[in-house]
């Protein structure tokens, strides 16, 4: 049965979780959704799922409706950081605990949610930058970088750009000669890269905010008669299967992982929260980075 009001004891029937997903804008997101769904099933938690189709107002509506339906716990991946206070207060008033996944919210009132589980996009950008500084330590000349940004205004795009810029900014030899949005898609990645290749003669490094754009760009680079990974080094973020394949094939030089597989961790946290155990305010997903050699090793065992 449904919990009366407030946090139902896990023993008093099946736990119901309301999960509000941002959307299904990418394969990464879909893998994320799947992971949550599968983990919920495995953990015996009944999942109410809703897809906000990239709209914050839809997510707020969904959360309201979860409150209305008196679920036991609410989890969601915020579309953006701001603007959640009102609905989170409603949840708090209804005694429903909230867990954030994948992205944070900027509420000053930290009691509005129990914990935040997810990646740190700025850190991802930093990791990409660090590898590049390491890699080009020996090089003297200017290193010309082109950047394929994610959807303008979106949090991963903003943060991955910021983290990367923060690291390479300390060394004047790195120059971002062109930076444009590729909307996180392969087609746009290819199209933008084609234009870069013509307008910017010297490109040493490509930094793509996700694998898909990098994969599109690889086609463009090959079309221009250059060798991706050699003539132009490519760094990207995500580590989806196709990306890992390209990394293993030597076309991509380095990938910063951004794991969508938050499901099991989320369910663990949920159980702890419902059992009123202490949970840390911030749980960073276990993420790593891959070089070409590492990719070859783990390729076979990748799940997504």
């Amino acid at each position: 049965g449904k919990g009366e009001s407030g946090a139902a004891a896990p023993g008093g029937g099946k736990t119901i979780m309301g999960f509000s997903q941002v959307g299904a804008e990418s394969g990464w997101r879909t893998a994320n959704t799947k992971s949550v769904q599968e983990a919920a099933k495995a953990a015996g938690i009944e999942l109410k799922f809703s897809d906000a189709q990239q709209k914050q107002e839809n997510q707020i509506k969904a959360i309201r409706s979860y409150i209305q339906q008196k679920v036991d716990v609410i989890a969601f991946s915020p579309v953006v950081e701001s603007g959640w206070d009102t609905v989170l207060k409603e949840a708090k008033n209804a005694n429903i605990p909230v867990i954030l996944t994948d992205r944070a919210v900027d509420s000053t009132d930290k009691t509005l949610y129990k914990t935040f589980l997810g990646s740190d996009f700025v850190e991802e950008g930093r990791k990409a930058g660090k590898w590049l500084t390491e890699e080009s330590k020996s090089e003297a000349g200017p290193v010309n970088i082109v950047e394929l940004q994610g959807t303008t205004g979106s949090a991963p795009a903003n943060d991955r750009k910021a983290g990367f810029a923060e690291v390479i900014g300390s060394d004047p030899k790195f120059k971002v000669v062109a930076s444009q949005t590729g909307d996180f898609t392969r087609a746009k990645g290819k199209e933008v890269m084609e234009a870069f290749l013509k307008s910017t003669p010297d490109i040493d490094v490509l930094y793509a905010h996700n694998d898909d754009m990098a994969l599109g760009a690889i086609e463009a680079i090959e079309g221009a008669g250059k060798v991706p990974g050699k003539d132009i080094k490519i760094i990207s973020v995500d580590a989806v299967k196709d990306g890992m394949q390209a990394l293993a094939d030597g076309k991509i030089s380095y990938i910063v992982e951004c794991s969508p597989l938050l499901g099991p961790q989320l369910m663990d946290l949920t159980k702890k929260v419902l059992a009123k155990e202490e949970v840390p305010a911030r749980v960073v997903t276990e993420e790593t980075t891959f070089t070409q050699e590492q990719a070859k090793k783990v390729l076979a065992s990748r799940q997504y």
């Binding site: 804008e25 930076s179 087609a187 290819k190 013509k198 307008s199 994969l215």
Partner: protein, 336 residues
């Protein structure tokens, strides 16, 4: 050339010049790996899907309708083709399947508009929303990557040294011109769009014409979808063809076709699509930062419209142009 098309052409030329200023070699075309290579070729190649979708959209708009679902159809057909190929179907059969399904979806739109009598914008909104979901259902929300070399040709390959996509768009353009201007479809479409009741009383089968037109629009979108998928060797149900309907409508309008229906100009549409694609490429090439991209776009779109407007020209350049009181429509068209 049609006078209305003069100004979009001028804007196109200006954009190209702007590029030339920033990228000196912009207009040059070289031969690389046995085929043409250069920015102009790129514009045509990436513009080909938009040209295709816009051609279909032109006919729909000429009947006084609008088709919001083309973007979803692009995604569905690309997804179907890739799914079929990844499951071992031959390229031709897979493409045929994708295009056939697109055709059926278009006929469904046409049915809603012509037989049930639903306003086009909501009728096609249904497929716009549901279709995107269908595409994701087909791809399971993932990106389906295919490695078939034959499939690659459609959007990324070459024939006679030219990208295959450009040739394909040219073929469809020629077919459309033939159907509408050599055969009498164009007259009947313009008639239905100009005055539906009068057309009915003149004995036109407007239902049949409407269904044909919506099916054709979806067919074009279907081909474009295959082309888009082939270009990146993968189907992206989430993002393929996203917002292409807006670009297509914009292309049609820049091409001088009125959204109220009636007269249409295929040449204008192609020009409009090229203006839009050139604008996109320009933004990438001259390094407009992503945050100001839309401002730049707004500027160019407003400039095209204003230049096209006789009323504006009369005010802006009072001495060179005679004041025109009513929108003067040109009756001559090249392909007619």
């Amino acid at each position: 050339m049609n006078r209305r098309l003069l100004w979009p052409a001028v804007v196109l030329a200006l954009l190209l010049l702007l590029n030339l200023f920033f990228t000196p070699g912009f207009l040059s075309i070289e031969v690389k790996d046995g085929h043409f290579y250069g920015s102009l070729i790129d514009i045509l190649r990436f513009g080909a899907p938009l040209v295709l979708v816009s051609l279909g959209m032109t006919l729909v708009i000429a009947t006084g309708g609008i088709d919001l679902s083309v973007g979803s159809v692009v995604a569905i057909s690309g997804a179907l083709a890739c799914l079929a190929i990844s499951q071992g179907t031959g390229v031709l059969a897979a493409v045929a399947l994708a295009v056939a399904v697109a055709l059926v979806l278009g006929a469904f739109n046409g049915f809603l508009v012509a037989v049930i009598g639903i306003q086009p914008i909501v009728a096609t909104l249904i497929l716009m929303v549901a279709g995107r979901g269908l595409a994701q259902l087909i791809t399971d929300g993932q990106i389906i990557t295919v490695t078939d070399a034959g499939f690659k040709v459609i959007g990324g390959g070459y024939l006679f040294m030219l990208p295959f996509g450009i040739l394909l768009a040219l073929v469809v353009l020629a077919a459309t011109v033939f159907l509408t201007r050599r055969l009498a479809l164009g007259l009947l479409i313009e008639s239905v769009g100009g005055n539906a009741e009068a057309s009915r009383l003149a004995g036109l089968r407007s239902r049949g014409i409407l269904i044909t037109v919506y099916a054709f629009a979806a067919l074009c979108a279907g081909i474009a979808g295959v082309m888009v998928a082939s270009n990146v060797s993968s189907a992206d149900g989430n993002n393929a063809g996203l917002w292409i309907e807006l670009d297509a409508i914009l292309a049609v309008v820049i091409g001088g076709t009125l959204l109220t229906g009636g007269r249409f100009s295929l040449g204008g549409t192609v020009l409009g699509a090229l203006v839009i694609q050139t604008l996109t490429t320009t933004i990438y090439s001259i390094g407009v930062p992503p945050e100001t991209t839309l401002l730049f776009k707004a500027l160019v779109v407003a400039a095209v419209c204003l230049l096209q407007s006789a009323a504006f020209r009369a005010r802006a350049f009072p001495r060179r142009e005679r004041p025109v009181t009513q929108p003067v429509q040109d009756t001559t068209e090249v392909a007619r």
